[in-house]
Symmetry: C2
Subunit: 304 residues, 2 copies
């Protein structure tokens, strides 16, 4: 395991340059790390190359030259592929390097990768994030970290470029479990905010004034502050993709089934989001839940 | 309608001294208003008498000497009684006085009281609040106001003793509609927070660390900050009574039925709270929703 060294002497391989990953990788570049990027759609890496990143032709090539490998991809199957496929990160990484998966994925997969990494003399940690596109852009993410505690301390300076709250949660998979806790809260708040806007619209309220009132009391939440205004503008751009949120809630529901736990709110909201996908909004932002609820009441547009 | 005058020259009749009302009335006294109190259970008014309030033997007696009458009672039936009964506030109030109902009640009842008040030369506004016992104690409530706009401006200095956000929402009943929007958001956030804690408990997380992580990201909400810690301590004292929240959600569901609106999240949470009541927790705080969810999964105690 490398001792903490100056960013300019540390090579980071960055895998995955979607909405979140691209913004996050930019902060790592700005902090002075040597970064090589690989991603499935090379065009998406272009802006990062302009900021000084090198392009790596393959996962193996990226991992081979890196002290730290960071992944921020889409689905558990992508995580499995980039780490465990024959030409994946575990096949290419140098002994002693540290692998950080920041994707939200199955806790069991994080444990599997950590074990496989350990068997090869590598250290893998799970470090999913919350804070959305806003948090990625402003480096104000909350980062929930699971894995070997000493390894986490070695990469803490890197994580500190990306977020303002980095909390160690326990062994491999604990970061993922914490992120699922986070998503369960968001499922509830999103449903509450969307239903509240529909109620206010039908009640004839000025929704901007209504929001001004309720943001100040016990209903205060991040969703009201950051997503309700986008809903009023009918701007359903991501942010955070519906299809990723459906994935996260699906993982949480599989875990709860395994735990013998009944979470009726999460179950309901997961079903509503499947309706959002059926309406063709899988690649919209999570606040497109409003559209499924409008649809449920036979409304076409509740903007003012 | 009285012009705004110095608090010491304004007599306020305060009706209702429950958890919220008692704290709020204390701020009015501290601001220098002359206050007379009447409430169904005189013992609850005792601390306010010690702070300088006078006791009024009846609603009529309280209203008869007041420039402003404030009500903070429990249920719509109580609101109807204190305003509209033969020996109620409307029977006793002096022409020109202003009546402020801060109870959460039916928007239609607020409109009915405003019309009945107007017919007697009185002005009635609806001004329900959010922010719970914490907000009442620290005078940081959000106050959502409906009714005649000029009347609202006359009593704004009084409302400013109680809250830090006072927003005019529209004609009579608009304050109530806004409060119902607020409760709909809270229904969602409360379900999300409770389900998240159960998930984290079953996943074996340190719940304090988990909360530390998720409070910093897109799951951030008032309920996480103020009620989740009480849940971890198994402290289900009110706060805000379950039975009052059930009442509020019931009003919102009646309104949505009238509007032809389907709100599945609110419907679900309302049902879960009826389970909380069935478990004997109607007079616990709203965060006792955790107990119904534990019960649903056959758990008896999810504290760490």
């Amino acid at each position: 395991m490398p001792a903490p060294v100056h960013p300019s002497q540390t090579t980071v391989a960055w895998i995955g340059t979607g909405v979140m990953g691209a913004a996050m990788c930019g902060h790592v570049l700005k902090a002075g790390y040597r970064v090589s990027v690989h991603t499935r759609t090379p065009a998406k890496a272009q802006p990062l190359l302009g900021q000084g990143a090198a392009w790596a032709e393959s996962l193996r090539a990226a991992a081979d030259r890196a002290d730290i490998v960071v992944t921020m991809v889409g689905f558990p199957r992508d995580v499995r592929d980039v780490y465990l496929a024959p030409d994946g990160i575990l096949a290419g990484a140098r002994p002693g390097s540290i692998l950080i998966d920041m994707t939200t994925t199955e806790p069991s997969l994080s444990r599997e990768i950590a074990a496989a990494a350990s068997a090869k003399g590598l250290s893998a940690i799970d470090a999913p994030v919350s804070g959305g596109d806003v948090g990625a852009k402003h480096a104000t993410l909350s980062i929930m970290v699971g894995g070997d505690r000493r390894t986490v301390e070695v990469v803490r300076p890197l994580l500190a470029c990306l977020g303002r709250k980095i909390v160690y949660q326990g062994p491999a998979g604990a970061g993922q479990h914490t992120k699922l806790c986070n998503q369960i809260v968001i499922a509830g708040t999103m449903a509450g905010v969307c239903e509240s806007l529909l109620y206010g619209y039908r009640a004839g309220l000025d929704l901007h004034q209504m929001l001004e009132s309720i943001r100040g009391g016990a209903a205060a939440c991040w969703t009201l502050d950051h997503l309700a205004p986008r809903m009023l503008q009918r701007n359903f751009d991501p942010g955070f993709f519906v299809e990723h949120f459906v994935k996260d809630m699906g993982i949480a529901l599989e875990e709860t089934a395994r735990m013998g736990l009944t979470l009726p709110g999460l179950t309901l909201v997961h079903g509503l989001y499947q309706r959002v996908e059926a309406l063709g909004h899988g690649r919209s932002g999570t606040h497109a839940l409003l559209l499924a609820l409008e649809d449920l009441s036979g409304m076409t547009d509740s903007s003012t």
